[in-house]
């Protein structure tokens, strides 16, 4: 019987121009979404490529001078010497900055530490439009690296990107509401419900058939267009042969299915209330507004009110206080010179310039560390609050899940920044001892500079982050559907409640 109702419903839905229009609109929105998401990832990649090229060119310039110097000394059989820090270009035969590990690792050469986008990055732009996915690492204090500002029109940031994640979180529920709001009330209002009930079929089987047919149709569109989106963005970004991308795509389909189930359950529940179609629409659109717009705003508000992050402004004030304190401890005579322009320092001062500079960077870092730790701590506590409150709004849970699956989540970004900070230690450990021992660097060492490797997060790490939200939404969805179907037992086919 279920099969008959199912196929009957499918045929009926496919003959309704309104349904076809909606499904078409959903498909169009997804196509538009993947196009925008792919453009966002391409933009991000392009930005990193320019930075890598710039830094490679800078390294090459240092290396070229060094190689020329090595040839010069070898031809004449004279020993190579260590070059003190000097910002002016070397004269012929003069030892270049490339021999000085402090100058090289401290200001001339930078490692571009890249957070590579995942194979599914185009599906949910997340915070990608606000932050660069690369960090320039040198020996300066680490707070300068933590503010990875990317240029974008604040107006566009405010509006957000029309990506697949927007379509799924915001629009998909609207389509589900439109498909479900009059599943029973419509039949009742046109008088066909009583007629159908004269057949040997229970109301619940009848409803199950209607529900399953709608779920099947919608999921069919999502799988087909989702696959198209995957192929489109995958081929544009060259990740189609990456198994990780396909695992993530599978997770995306699963998360979308669970989220849809919630909204379908809500639709069945509202129908089980046995009210008019208009009332159903009113309730459902109110619920949509509450879950997708109001609750997320309230959750965000709660998190930022409960754990207000010290503003970056305060961080900056603290940094300047520390820098004033550090320079007060320094020798007065150097301050008459340009401490930032060594080319103007007398010869004997340049020997100590970098030592003083590095010492100041260290002092600064130590002084600001507590403020910075508090700053990051508050942000983590905010995230934790959002983590719990997302159980209230499946939309927040879904946003969290999609950002994780696409690799554009705050968690992944923070994990990346931790790796960058750790890498900077490695970078410093490579250059600082060589500088302090006045080791004369040669061109063969240039291939041995530490390189940043992000590595991949194992799928279980990603799964671990979304498990709670996915499970919660799944439970809510199943509970909602079960309760609604239980209610149907008391559904009056003729009278109104």
């Amino acid at each position: 019987m279920l099969k008959i109702i199912f196929s009957h419903e499918v045929r009926q839905l496919l003959k309704s121009p309104a349904t076809l229009f909606m499904l078409g609109l959903l498909a169009a929105a997804m196509v538009f979404g993947i196009y925008n998401g792919t453009r966002a990832v391409e933009r991000q990649n392009k930005s990193a490529v320019v930075a890598v090229a710039d830094e490679a060119a800078a390294k090459q310039r240092v290396l070229d001078q060094l190689v020329a110097y090595e040839r010069f000394t070898a031809e004449r059989g004279i020993p190579r010497v260590f070059a003190p820090v000097n910002h002016a270009p070397p004269r012929p035969g003069q030892s270049p900055q490339g021999t000085n590990a402090g100058a090289v690792g401290g200001e001339l050469v930078k490692e571009v530490a890249i957070l590579p986008p995942t194979g599914l990055a185009a599906f949910a732009v997340g915070q990608m439009d606000l932050q660069r996915n690369y960090t320039l690492v040198d020996m300066k204090n680490k707070f300068n690296m933590s503010d990875n500002f990317e240029i974008e029109n604040p107006l566009n940031l405010m509006t957000g990107t029309f990506d697949i994640s927007f379509v799924v979180i915001f629009l998909l529920p609207v389509f589900i509401i439109a498909l479900t709001y009059d599943m029973l009330s419509g039949e009742k209002e046109s008088g066909t419900l009583a007629l159908a009930m004269t057949q040997p079929v229970s109301l619940r089987t009848f409803m199950a058939g209607k529900l399953l047919s709608r779920i099947a149709l919608l999921m069919l569109v999502i799988v087909i267009i989702g696959l198209y989106a995957m192929l489109f963005s995958g081929s544009a970004l060259g990740v189609l042969d990456d198994p990780d991308a396909w695992v993530r795509f599978g997770l995306f389909l699963l998360a979308t299915f669970i989220y849809s189930l919630f909204w379908f359950g809500l639709g069945v529940f509202v129908n089980s209330l046995n009210k008019s179609s208009e009332t159903n629409v009113t309730i459902l659109s109110g619920a949509w507004l509450l879950i997708v717009v109001v609750l997320p705003a309230l959750i965000s508000l709660t998190a930022t009110t409960a754990y207000p992050a010290p503003s970056r402004m305060e961080l900056k004030v603290a940094m300047r206080d520390a820098s004033i304190a550090a320079e007060k401890a320094e020798d007065d005579t150097t301050k008459a010179y340009y401490t930032d322009h060594v080319e103007m320092l007398p010869e004997k001062e340049t020997e100590t310039y970098l030592t003083v500079f590095l010492a100041r960077q260290d002092a600064l870092e130590k002084a600001v560390e507590p403020v910075f730790a508090q700053f990051r701590g508050q942000l983590e506590r905010q995230e934790a609050i959002v983590g719990w409150f997302q159980l209230l709004s499946p939309a927040v849970a879904m946003q969290n899940a999609l950002n994780e699956i696409s690799g554009n989540s705050t968690d992944r970004y923070n994990a990346y920044m931790d790796k960058v900070f750790a890498f900077q230690k490695e970078w410093k450990q490579f250059f600082t001892p060589r500088y302090l021992q006045r080791e004369i660097m040669d061109s063969s060492m240039y291939d041995d500079f530490p390189k940043f490797e992000y590595g991949k997060e194992a799928p279980y790490v990603v799964l671990g982050r979304i498990l709670l939200s996915a499970f919660a939404v799944l439970l809510i969805s199943i509970g909602m559907n079960a309760y609604a179907f239980l209610r149907l037992r008391r559904f009056g086919v003729r009278e109104n409640s």
Binding site: R39, L155, F162, G286, A297, A303, K335, A336, T410
Partner: protein
Amino acid sequence: MIRDIARKEFICLIRDGRFKWAIVIMLLLLMTSFLTGYQRYQSLHSIQEASQARDNEQWLSQDKKNPHTAAHFGNYAYKPQGTLAFFDNGIGNYAGSVVWLEAHKTNFAQNRPAQDNGAVSRFGDLTPAMTLQVLLPLLIVLMGFSAFAGERESGTLRQVMSLGVSSRTLLLGKLLGTSAAVGLVALPAILIGVGVLTFGLPGDNAQVGQRGLLLLLFYLLYALAFLFLTLGVSAVARTAKGALIALIGFWAMATFILPKAAADISKMVTPTPTYSEFYHLARQTSLEGMKGAKGLLALPQGRHIETARRQLLKQYKVASVRDLPIYWVAYSMQIIEDRDYAIYQKFLGQLRETFFRQQAVQDRFGLLSPLIPLRSLSMATSGTGLVDQERFNQTVQDFRIGMIRQMNNELIENTTMKDPLYIAGEEVFGKVKPYRYNPPTLSESFEGQRMNLVLLAAWCALMAAFAFAAVRRLRAQ
């Protein structure tokens, strides 16, 4: 007669359980949004004030040092919010509010709250403006969709029409009744807003009264447009259900889908350069010279300085910079500063133009959604839009070049190549007056908003015309 119809409509709405809930929820949300808007404004305002004051202090109390090193230490400039930011925070969460002004480097405004608040903040803030822009129209739709269609279904429309009520009277009555019910929600909001403004918020209060009145007018036009649309659709639709579905569809399209689609389309039309592209181009131009520029700017940096050096030697009739009565090193640094200022002005200007062009593209979608002109007007009136941000971005760069010139001139005039040592203290640093942001006047705020004004008024007028036309052809069945 109009009064009778209005009263009937009002009472029916008030007594309906659905609307009781809607009104209560809406009221609660409005209250919450006003309270949190007020709280956010207060806390941000005090942090900004304190940070700017502390920074001015730090600038003066920094250790005695070479003035050029002081320029490296630099200043932070903070953008104060306008008073009406408590109502409409606009791009506040997404635009930087503090810039580091230092020697040799042109920096962007940073400290965007959205970057630090986690992804959930991207759902949008619950500000009074957002509540009125997004939730109010839905409330209007829910209250008005059955005004005609519902009565037609229950058969009462035939009775009313048989009394010989003119279509105009009927529409105006329904309009008044529904507005009164919606007003139950909107009125407290207006009172709170006026209260907050009268009893004062700290901060800049210039023309705040006029701005408040303008906001009232804009939101009224917006609400009326939705009200007329709702009544018109209700009159045309065959069933109440059909009217509701169509109206909610329009609402979702106008408030959620179109603004987002417009932003993405504007990015396609005029792409935003990335951070690395921007600096790559600016640095390259600084080194190699600006193509198409006149005079020294077109030359590579080295030749620019060389030319200036020769001019200077000629002017003072000396053979070497060592014999100059002024300090050549600081002089040459200032040449680069002035050169870079001109170059960055060009690229920052292009970026600004990109942003405004994107806004213009988005504003054009106001033809399809009344939210878009309202949103732009609301931000412009509240002083939280692009115009205000770009004014800040521009004035801080002007302040920066002034500060650096002041510091370098100290060196140029007081030292020479033979005797370059110089230590400056508070009396020299104090010559740099603290940065102050001057918000735009009302007429400056509305530059470029003409189309939005026309569009919003047109939406209201067209919807009114539609409603009258729809009611004139009203059928009882």
